[in-house]
C-alpha cells in the first residue's frame, strides 16, 4: 500500500538525535588473520582428521609409546625373538627379541628429529636465500638463481647420497644431507612471493616513507609470506622422512642399533615373507604420518591463501 496512507503516530517522525548513530562504526570484534584462517581450516574435514591423527601419533611417539611398554627399544631377549604380535609384545619382536612397539615409536621419533632439523635448515637457508634474491633483484638475483639452477640439475637424492658418503652417518649428518638437498624449492617459492610483494602499493608506501631493506623484509615481506612458509615446511617434513627411508634402503641411513622408520622398514622388508608384521607396523605408521602431513598441508594452503579471503 502507498506509504502516504499508513497510519502512524507523530512520535515516529521525530528526527534522530545527533551522535546516536555512528556511521563509521565497525561491527564485531577484531578478526585477526590467524583466527580467520583457523575458522576456514576447521571446515576442511580431511585437514582436521589429519591434524588429529598427527597429534595422536606424536602423543604415542613421545609420551604414550614409552609409557605403555615396559621394554626399551634396544633391550634384547634372544629367547623371545620373532614373536608374533600378542599380549606381551603388541607389535611383536624382531630377530634380536627387541620389542617392536617400542622400536616403532623410537623410529618415529628419530625420523621426526631428522625431518625437523632438515626443515629447519630449509627454513633458514631457503627463506634467506629466496628473500634476498627476490628483494635485491638485478645482477645479484641473476647470480643466485643460476646457482640454484645448477644445484637443481643434480637430483636431490644424489646430493644427499654424496653428502652421506662424505659425512659419517648419524642423525645430524643425515639431517644436514637431506636439508642441503631440499632447500631449493623453498628458496624459489619465497623469491616468487617476494617479487610479487615488492611491487604492491603497501611496500612502495613503506619505501617512500624511507624504509630500508631490512625493515621491508621483516615487517612487510616475510609476514606476508608466512602462510607460504608454513605450508612449504609442512610438506618438507614428509619429504624428509621419505628421503631418509630411501637412504636407509641403500644402507646410508640410520645405523643399528638406532632405528628410524626407514631403517625399520628396510629391515622388515628383508623378513617380509615369514614375518610380515615386522614390515607392517613401521610401514603403517610411516604411511599415516606422510598422508596426514600432506593432507594438512593441503588444507592449510586453502585456509591461508589470501586470495580466498573475503
Amino acid at each position: 500500500m502507498e506509504t502516504r496512507d499508513r497510519e502512524l503516530t507523530p512520535e515516529q517522525f521525530r528526527a534522530l538525535e545527533e551522535g546516536s548513530r555512528d556511521s563509521e562504526r565497525i561491527a564485531g570484534p577484531s578478526i585477526g588473520f590467524w583466527r580467520d584462517s583457523w575458522e576456514r581450516l576447521k571446515k576442511n574435514r580431511a585437514a582436521l582428521v589429519s591434524l588429529a591423527l598427527i597429534v595422536i601419533l606424536f602423543a604415542f611417539a613421545f609420551v604414550l609409546g614409552p609409557l605403555l611398554t615396559p621394554f626399551s627399544p634396544s633391550e634384547q631377549d634372544i629367547a623371545q625373538r620373532y614373536e608374533r604380535p600378542g599380549a606381551e609384545h603388541w607389535f611383536g619382536t624382531d630377530e634380536f627379541g627387541r620389542d617392536m612397539f617400542a622400536r616403532v615409536w623410537q623410529g618415529m621419533r628419530v625420523s621426526l628429529y631428522i625431518a625437523f632439523i632438515a626443515a629447519g635448515l630449509d627454513l633458514v637457508v631457503g627463506v634467506t636465500f629466496g628473500a634476498v634474491s627476490g628483494l635485491l633483484g638485478g645482477k645479484v638475483d641473476g647470480v643466485m638463481q643460476r646457482f640454484i639452477e645448477i644445484l637443481n640439475g643434480i637430483p636431490s637424492l644424489v646430493v644427499a647420497i654424496l653428502a652421506m658418503v662424505v659425512l659419517d652417518p648419524g642423525i645430524l649428518s643425515i639431517s644436514i644431507a637431506i636439508g642441503a638437498a631440499g632447500w631449493t624449492p623453498m628458496a624459489r617459492l619465497i623469491r616468487g612471493r617476494v617479487l610479487q610483494l615488492k611491487d604492491q602499493e603497501f611496500t612502495l608506501a613503506s619505501r617512500s616513507l624511507g624504509a630500508g631493506n631490512r625493515r621491508l623484509l621483516t615487517k612487510h615481506l616475510l609476514p606476508n609470506a608466512l602462510g607460504l612458509i608454513i605450508i612449504t615446511l609442512m610438506l618438507t617434513i614428509p619429504s624428509a622422512i621419505f628421503t631418509e627411508a630411501v637412504l636407509s634402503f641403500i644402507g646410508l641411513g640410520i645405523q643399528v642399533p638406532n632405528a628410524s622408520l626407514g631403517s625399520l622398514i628396510d629391515a622388515g622388508a628383508e623378513d617380509m615373507r615369514f614375518y610380515a608384521y615386522l614390515l607392517f607396523f613401521p610401514a603403517a605408521v610411516f604411511c599415516l604420518l606422510m598422508l596426514s602431513f600432506n593432507l594438512l598441508a593441503d588444507g592449510l594452503r586453502d585456509a591461508l591463501d589470501p586470495k580466498m579471503r573475503k
Binding site: D22, S208, G210, N224
Partner: protein, 329 residues
C-alpha cells in the same frame, strides 16, 4: 580554490621544479618511454592536477617524484635542490617532506599490520616519537584528523571499507608532516559518494596545513574541482597546461578537446544536446610512439606534416601552455 601564495616559496622559487623529466623502462630489447620529457613547476600551497588516460605516464611521473624510480633523464628540484642526488640524511629528510597517497585501497595497506602500526610507520622510521605513549597519541590524533575513531587503531585493514582505507593511507602520509603530497588516483577506486569524502578531506588538510599537491587522475571532473592548474598528458608528454577554469572552458589541443568531450555529463538534457568528439582508434603503444606529433594517429585534424613536425611547447596566452602544431593559432 587556494590562492597563489607568494610567501613560503624558498628563495622566490616554486616548491617543485620538473625539467624535461624522462623515465624509460627496458622491455626486452626496446625502451618503453613511459615519461618522455615533461616540464612543469608547482608553487607552494597549490594543487596541480595531472590528467590523462592509461599509458600516458602520469603515475610513473608521480613515482619518480617520490623517488621510487630513478629518472632516465632530466631533473626534479625540490626547494631548489635536486632530489635524486640527495643521499643519507638529506635523502631521509626528503622522504618526510614528499609523500604519496596511493590508488588501491586494497593493496596500499599491509594486510598483516594493524592500523596504528601502519599509520605510525613513518614515525617509527624517523624516530619522531619519544615513547610508546607519544606514538599512540599521535596515531589517535591522525585518525581523528581523517575522520575515523581512535578505536580503529587496533583493527586490521580488511575490516574497513574502501573510503576508510584511503583515509588511513592519508593519515599515514601525514604522520611525517610532509610539505608536498603526490596523490596518485586517490579516489578512482572508490564509490562516488565516498569520493567526495576523501576529496573534501584533502582540501581541508590543504587549507589547514598549507600542503602542496600533485593530484593525478583520469577523472576530469574530479581534477577540475580540486586543482588550481591542470596538465594533460598523452603518451609520455604534456600536451596542454593551464589554470583549471581556463583549460576546461578553452581547451586548445585536439586531445584535450576530445578528452573533455568524452566525459559523459550527469545531466540528461545536456547530454542530449551536446556535440561529441569521438576519437577513432586506440592509444598507440608507448614502446613505439608515433613520429612527429604523437597524437596524429587519432587526431581529427591530422595532416601529412604532422608525421615529421614535432609540436612546440609554448605559452599561447598567460599561463596557458600547449604543444602547439598547425591547429593552434
Amino acid at each position: 580554490m587556494t590562492e597563489q601564495t607568494q610567501n613560503g616559496e624558498a628563495n622566490g622559487r616554486p616548491l617543485l621544479e620538473i625539467r624535461d623529466l624522462k623515465k624509460y623502462f627496458r622491455v626486452g630489447r626496446e625502451n618503453l618511454k613511459a615519461v618522455d620529457g615533461i616540464s612543469l613547476e608547482i608553487n607552494k600551497g597549490e594543487t596541480f592536477g595531472l590528467v590523462g588516460e592509461s599509458g600516458c605516464g602520469k603515475s610513473t611521473a608521480g613515482r619518480v617524484l617520490v623517488r621510487l624510480y630513478e629518472p632516465s633523464g632530466g631533473e626534479v628540484l625540490f626547494e631548489g635542490k635536486s632530489i635524486h642526488e640527495a643521499t643519507g640524511s638529506e635523502g631521509r629528510a626528503l622522504n618526510r617532506k614528499m609523500q604519496m597517497v596511493f590508488q588501491d585501497p586494497q593493496a596500499s595497506l599491509n594486510p598483516r599490520m594493524i592500523v596504528s602500526d601502519i599509520i605510525a610507520e613513518g614515525i617509527d622510521i624517523h624516530n619522531l616519537a619519544a615513547n610508546g605513549k607519544e606514538r599512540l597519541d599521535r596515531v589517535h590524533e591522525l585518525l581523528e584528523t581523517v575522520g575515523l575513531n581512535p578505536e580503529h587503531a587496533n583493527r586490521y585493514p580488511h575490516e574497513f571499507s574502501g573510503g576508510q582505507r584511503q583515509r588511513i593511507g592519508v593519515a599515514r602520509a601525514l604522520a611525517v608532516d610532509p610539505d608536498f603530497i603526490v596523490a596518485d588516483e586517490p579516489v578512482s577506486a572508490l564509490d562516488v559518494s565516498i569520493q567526495a569524502q576523501v576529496i573534501n578531506l584533502l582540501k581541508k588538510l590543504q587549507r589547514e596545513r598549507g600542503l602542496t599537491y600533485l593530484f593525478i587522475s583520469h577523472d576530469l571532473s574530479v581534477v577540475k574541482y580540486i586543482s588550481d592548474r591542470v596538465g594533460v598528458m598523452y603518451l609520455g608528454v604534456m600536451v596542454e597546461m593551464a589554470p583549471s577554469d581556463e583549460l576546461y572552458s578553452n581547451p586548445l589541443h585536439p586531445y584535450t578537446q576530445a578528452l573533455l568531450s568524452a566525459v559523459p555529463v550527469p545531466d540528461p538534457d545536456v547530454e542530449l544536446e551536446r556535440e561529441r568528439i569521438v576519437l577513432q582508434g586506440d592509444v598507440p603503444s608507448p614502446v613505439n610512439p608515433p613520429s612527429g606529433c604523437r597524437f596524429r594517429t587519432r587526431c581529427p585534424y591530422a595532416t601529412e606534416a604532422c608525421g615529421h613536425d614535432e609540436p612546440v611547447w609554448r605559452e599561447v596566452s598567460p599561463e596557458h601552455w600547449v604543444a602547439a602544431c598547425h591547429c593552434i593559432p
